[in-house]
Point group: C2
Chain length 623, copies 2
């Protein structure tokens, strides 16, 4: 597929940027961020405004359109994809490279004096607004909220906002009732002396009430806001979803409850007026707790003096530490997921040599095998099924125009995952169905060494994930290689596949310390543009580590892999592994055999079981 | 020495906090930061106000005195020392521990409503003022500048501000003339479109003019400010130092010069009025560049709209990248320093068993041997000469009351360095003059593994030092051990032994990327309170690394040790080293032999040469 032709659209946008029907004064630039009103990473089709105006549909990017220019900021995962999808009206701004200007610096360099820069106040997070507004003001420009979204005014066939039925989760999945979660939240509020808490992130709403939805593809969430007071709960949600008896029962909407647990249901669109009413009724010392990533619109509804902003909300932090029921669910989900992938890889091993398997077919087969597993709901993100040069496009998704046939001559990279009612998975394996070159094996082995260095790392309680990032790169660095993405992200429990507040990245400095019970991915890689991509990803659980000593009684942590899918030994240059690394691989494969082997046996999947046993033969050093 | 008794002093301070002669309105709290008006880490005796009021004389700490409380914030290096030096009037706030409140949070928790918090505006950096002021204001209090320093009003025998002669450095030491440095600075100013630059850091003034002083012990700097315009240079400095013919010649004060290189000399005390005059004469778009760490007083002299603040000044960044003349000077200085230490350790080996060597005597001997070397100026910091439990006090300095005798039964830690006209040194060696226990050797070997992991690390151009910090800890972490300080700091070239903008620490996120030519220390450690301390420190130069591949043509970097002093092999448990680590030690020792051995030979120091040869015998694994 060629790039999207945007000449006409940009012309229309530039017209509405001056149209008094939509803007009080003409704006000389208009910012189109990625997100929706909840700062979601994955968004509903009606919120894909940046993709609509530019053609670039990666998960991260910000478009800015001025009278003369159109520019797109995105990160290393998407440099190639964005360059493919955008036409020559657009300038690609490669974030993370030394010479790339920030959005603010770029705006200042191109805008005429005294410009107005417009943005939808619901779409821009308050912290970004603040930074951008300050930088523009100090250069003599103004950032202005444009109430009507200007993209929506030119998007004639914009899809409707989804409003799908809800799923209720009982205690066997969640471990804690929504009432107990509210109690814990109110105690955190009391600790910080705040009277109100506004939940704006969709996964936080879903987690708090033990509800799931399907308004956004891949993320089991639903459009809603919540405002929690010390004695009130207001849920802002649209549609007849609250008419579902199971939901009414789950939320005890028709029961006689203590007033502080009585949920008032209100229309989604009334959040701003209700918040303004809350804000107007505040007395001094009555603070309102908000994420500093909440939208500018929601944040501004509360007078500045009453706001209590934090980078991570208490829900975000509580949600990240999985309880026993959630951890057990995640384990079950990962075993089922491994069964599906053993089926897939066993099938690919048979079929690839015939030359009939395309990237899309492989992705569809992966979904088919997953959907056979119990409690499967949907995929957790768009499957990255990529072979040869497509593997170097870090967040590639096969489409008919790029669809490549798997062969015995190219490396195949599959990054995929699913939502099960008991957990969320995300796994990457890189395979060769023929004979890999010595260079491919060398690169794969460096990536594996990095993967093991993180997975086997022991570190003190209180360590932030970003301090582990270099462990994943050290073997690559030694040979002058690297990869341009982070090493890991938090993973939700039947929730978003990317979640805060923890992660493993050289970029993230606001991450919270890792704690036992947190779940993150470990996914170093190596990519050669035009040739191949390698990535090895497991989802890992933070667990206490036994150590010989215990400095200052701090205790230590390490990781336990939840993902149990063989790592292709054919791709490993065993001579590059240390004894310790070799043992790690063998012990990991032994566990795959035992745990996934038993489940394959139970499910009667004998072909896949034979594949698993072959693929988990122990490595011997000095081969 | 027992703690300083501060009851009377605190009473006096609390009186002046209410005395209308000094404060417009009474202040309920008074902050006494560490620094001087230049935010120096090492300060002149007249600026040791925090030590005067509290007794705690470590290099980092902030005191806050309220009507009821007196509290001291300091970091892990100083927990033990501060606890020893302060009486029971003081509460120690251990920074970096989870439950320690920030100064702001603590103030908010103890102050009565609507309090005023006073601070000397020359002593508090503008960025700290801003953060503190904001936090206090949002809790209903006010941070107020108190023009007269309240400590000075009660410090009856406060020493005079030093005003010592200057040293001029010619091109063979500096590589670049001060005129060329001014030209480079003005070109950076033009790039950023600023018209003025204010130099407030003492080492930046010294570096810019290729001058050195001795106003502050250990740091060869002098009290001065500089204001650089595109066509003017104003140097604010006191005393008759500008009458010295060598200085006049060096600065070409009596030559006919292009006006833009003509230096106007003004009194030190006139900086504020001159800056206010500059500020008043600015037209829009005429910005003034300041460090965001400049004092609140200096920063406030420039109207907010005209300030251009950055965390690191262009001088700070240029100064960090040493040129060929500076690097060669640093190499020479480190060879001379190694000669002195070989003499010392050879002497200690003889004398310690006799039981006559104390920590102070060992430190004095180290200074004596260093002072015999060419171009020796002074020490670069107070020698840390510590044995047994004193070694666990991370920044210990022996005084008669704590002075311990070195013995064959305890570990001895010596962290010391000197200023030579050609360079600055800083080296730590940990020795045992008897037979170390298996546990001591084990801990030493983990620290050594961390030291090597950093020193031998290969990493891409553009990497920030903090990404290397975990390499230094990994071996300790594996066994549940750690150390509560950073791993490395920038080192000046015959300048401050601690300098920005680079470093290696889990704490520093504002560090600038490492570049070839930068010089940092590599100094992991391990400390057991009440037992012993271990640290292994080399000063290392960032150099380009040869790698097998070169991802995105970014190039790679690594370190070359400048310090060439044997690491005691007796303390190493060779079985814990990998082959690579073992080779690193052997190659390092081979270089010590060759380079330092030749110099010992040249200087006719045969005893020390024999010691060097013995101490650098190759390790053999499997011993």
């Amino acid at each position: 597929m060629g790039p999207k032709i945007t000449t006409e659209l940009l012309k229309q946008l530039r017209q509405v940027m001056k149209n008094p029907r939509y803007v009080q004064e003409p704006v000389q630039a208009y910012i189109v961020p990625s997100g929706d009103a909840h700062q979601s990473e994955y968004i509903a089709p009606c919120d894909c405004r940046r993709a609509f105006i530019s053609g670039f549909d990666g998960s991260a990017g910000t478009a800015i359109v001025t009278e003369q220019h159109a520019a797109m900021w995105t990160d290393g995962r998407y440099f190639l994809q964005a360059a493919h999808q955008m036409d020559s009206n657009w300038t690609l701004m490669k974030m993370g490279l030394k010479d790339t200007p920030t959005q603010e610096d770029w705006l200042v360099s191109v805008l005429p004096e005294g410009s107005k820069v417009g943005v939808d106040p619901f779409i821009i997070p308050a912290d970004q607004w603040k930074r951008m507004s300050k930088a523009l003001r100090s250069a003599g420009h103004d950032l202005v909220p444009v109430k009507e979204n200007l993209i929506d005014t030119i998007w004639t066939d914009c899809p409707q906002r989804p409003c799908k039925p809800l799923i209720t989760l009982d205690l066997s999945y969640t471990g804690v009732s929504w009432r107990d979660k509210i109690v814990a939240l109110r105690s955190k509020m009391a600790e910080r002396k705040v009277m109100w808490f506004v939940v704006t992130a969709l996964d936080e709403v879903a987690w708090l009430f033990n509800l799931r939805g399907s308004d956004v593809e891949y993320n089991p969430v639903f459009f809603a806001y919540v405002v929690i007071g010390m004695n009130t709960i207001r849920l802002f949600i649209d549609g007849d979803r609250m008419m579902d008896p199971a939901v009414r029962e789950h939320l005890q909407l028709d029961s006689t409850l203590e007033p502080e647990f009585k949920i008032q249901v209100m229309p989604y669109g009334s959040i701003l007026s209700e918040l303004q009413a809350v804000g107007a009724g505040l007395s001094p010392k009555e603070k309102v707790w908000l994420s500093d990533k909440a939208s500018y619109a929601v944040t501004e509804a509360i007078p500045k003096a009453y706001r209590y902003l934090t980078p991570y909300t208490p829900i975000c932090i509580a949600k990240a530490v999985k309880n026993a029921a959630e951890t057990e669910g995640m384990r079950r989900a990962h075993i089922k997921d491994a069964v599906a992938l053993c089926e897939l890889f066993s099938w690919l091993e048979e079929e690839v040599p015939k030359g009939t398997v395309t990237e899309i077919l492989a992705a569809d087969k992966a979904e088919e095998f997953r959907s056979q597993q119990k409690d499967f709901v949907e995929l957790s993100f768009a499957t990255i099924s990529s072979t040869g040069p497509n593997g170097a496009i870090i967040h590639y998704k096969p489409v008919p125009e790029t669809n490549r046939t798997l062969s015995v001559n190219e490396i195949y990279l599959l990054d995929s995952g699913a939502q099960y009612k008991d957990g969320t998975t995300d796994v990457t394996r890189t395979m060769h169905f023929g004979t890999p070159s010595a260079y491919e094996k060398e690169c794969f082995t460096y990536v594996l060494k990095g993967h093991i260095a993180v997975s086997a790392a022991i570190f003190p309680n209180g360590t932030k994930g970003h301090l582990l990032d270099s462990f994943a790169r050290s073997a690559l660095w030694d040979c002058g290689l690297d990869y341009l993405h982070g090493t890991g992200h938090g993973v939700g429990s039947f929730l978003n596949v990317h979640e805060g507040p923890c992660g493993i990245s050289y970029k993230t400095f606001a991450d919270e310390p890792l704690e036992a019970g947190m779940i993150v991915s470990d996914e170093p890689g190596y990519y050669e543009d035009g040739s191949f991509g390698i990535r090895i990803e497991n989802v890992v659980l933070v667990i206490p580590a036994e150590t010989k000593y215990n400095f200052k009684n701090r205790g230590s942590l390490t990781f336990e892999p939840l993902t149990l899918v063989p790592i292709q030994t054919k791709m490993i240059d065993v001579n590059l592994l240390t004894e310790k690394e070799c043992n790690w691989v063998n012990e990991y494969h032994q566990k795959c055999r035992e745990v996934v082997g038993a489940e394959l046996e139970r499910q009667g999947r004998h072909e896949a079981l034979r594949w698993l046993l072959r693929e988990t033969e122990p490595l011997a050093r000095g081969q």
